[in-house]
Amino acid sequence: MVALTDLRIVPNPEPDDLSRTETAVYPDWESVYEDNVVGIYQLVFRKVGNAADAEDLAAEVLMQTLKTLRLPAPVHNVRAYLVKTARTVLADHWRSHYAAKDAAAELQQVPPDALTAPRNSAASERAQRLLALLPDQSRRILELRFLRGYSVREAANELGVTESNARVLQFRALRKAAELELEVLT
């Protein structure tokens, strides 16, 4: 099942006001942090899928930015810089944790507008669209695992295959999903 305890109520103190980003300036770190800390966390979370790594990487992105960025600076410049830093930090993470080669690390591409684009509702919708494009068996294994929280064994039983086959099916389905994401959704 979906981990309901993960849901949080988050009052948005400063709803994204996209219109102001063209001309607005961040005067100090206070405004940079308040405006972007949650967005940075979400951005890296979507690439690593777990809270522990997301926390480390979000802190790293902010730390690196803190060290190099000069303020005051235009909002869109700062956000572009944060996204660029996030991209580097993520690629390093995949290289150091999973020995990912440069080409594979490139899969960690983050769109330049990642901090201004709609957030998690869009991610959910995107996932649904992606699943809908997959062949039947691939879609089913991913739905069972990711949406319904089935273990490999439970998913294997449901699909009438061995556990080992379910793992292979899952691997292929995820690769297919990654390819589709690059081809169709970008």
Binding site: A3, L7, R46, G49, A51, Y98, R119, A127, Q170
Partner: protein, 228 residues
């Protein structure tokens, strides 16, 4: 240990689905590709990618510690300002309320939502009007219907039919059923309601009201709502 790419990726997925930090290993390009997709899927649940207050506090702590170690950083922001910033940001941005707590917090339901948390929409000159056939709404599904005057969502929760307003109580956007998540999503401001109309999730300054309930019944093979 001689495990295959599929085994390694399965272990990675298990870690993600259990909320654990995945173990490190040497992955091929194909594996990284699959793992990237897995991370994206794991983070697509509504709310999954929001930091907890504890996580924000720890990020704050690390930055504050870095400031202590590097006096040069004071050029950009003093430690005092940093602490003030992170204190307010953390307090303002995240209130870590679990879903269980939300579901049982009926006493604090906003005005107009009635006892028990949800108002019932009972029009003065209403009538039972068919909106869908029973076969259109299998168990575990929700669908939007409109009677012209009222936009509603009808729900079949394990054979029990119910209906709530299909309009977000925040600013009136039309809700979109998410059957997998057993919820109704507002496309405008990331608000989500349960099938019963209770607010599950929001990113607004104030909690929106629960969805009004709409009287419903099954008459023959038709689902009917009591509406104008």
């Amino acid at each position: 240990m001689t495990d295959s790419p599929a085994d390694r990726v399965a272990r990675y997925v298990d870690d993600l689905l259990h909320g654990r930090r995945p173990r490190r290993f040497s992955a091929s390009s194909e594996e990284v590709e699959a793992m990237t997709a897995a991370a994206g899927l794991a983070s697509s649940r509504v709310g999954a990618d929001l930091p907890s207050k504890a996580a924000l506090d720890r990020i704050h702590g690390r930055l504050a510690a870095a400031m202590d170690e590097s006096p040069a950083l004071d050029r950009h922001m003093t430690r005092r300002v940093l602490l003030r910033t992170f204190g307010t940001a953390a307090a303002a941005m995240v209130i870590g309320v679990g879903l269980d707590e939300v579901a049982t917090r009926q006493g604090k339901a906003p005005a107009g939502s009635g006892g028990g948390g949800s108002a019932v929409l009972m029009p003065d000159s209403g009538a039972w009007r068919p909106v869908a056939s029973v076969t259109q709404l299998p168990a575990g599904h929700a669908m939007t219907v409109s009677t012209g005057a009222v936009d509603a969502v009808i729900v079949n929760d394990g054979g029990t039919i119910s209906a709530v307003s299909g309009i977000c109580t925040h600013l009136g956007c039309k809700l979109q059923p998410d059957d997998a998540g057993r919820k109704l999503d507002c496309p405008c401001h990331q608000t989500a309601f349960g099938w019963s109309g209770k607010v599950l999730y929001f990113r607004l300054k104030a909690e929106p009201a629960n969805l009004p309930q709409i009287p419903s019944r099954v008459n023959g093979d038709q689902i009917e709502l009591f509406v104008v």
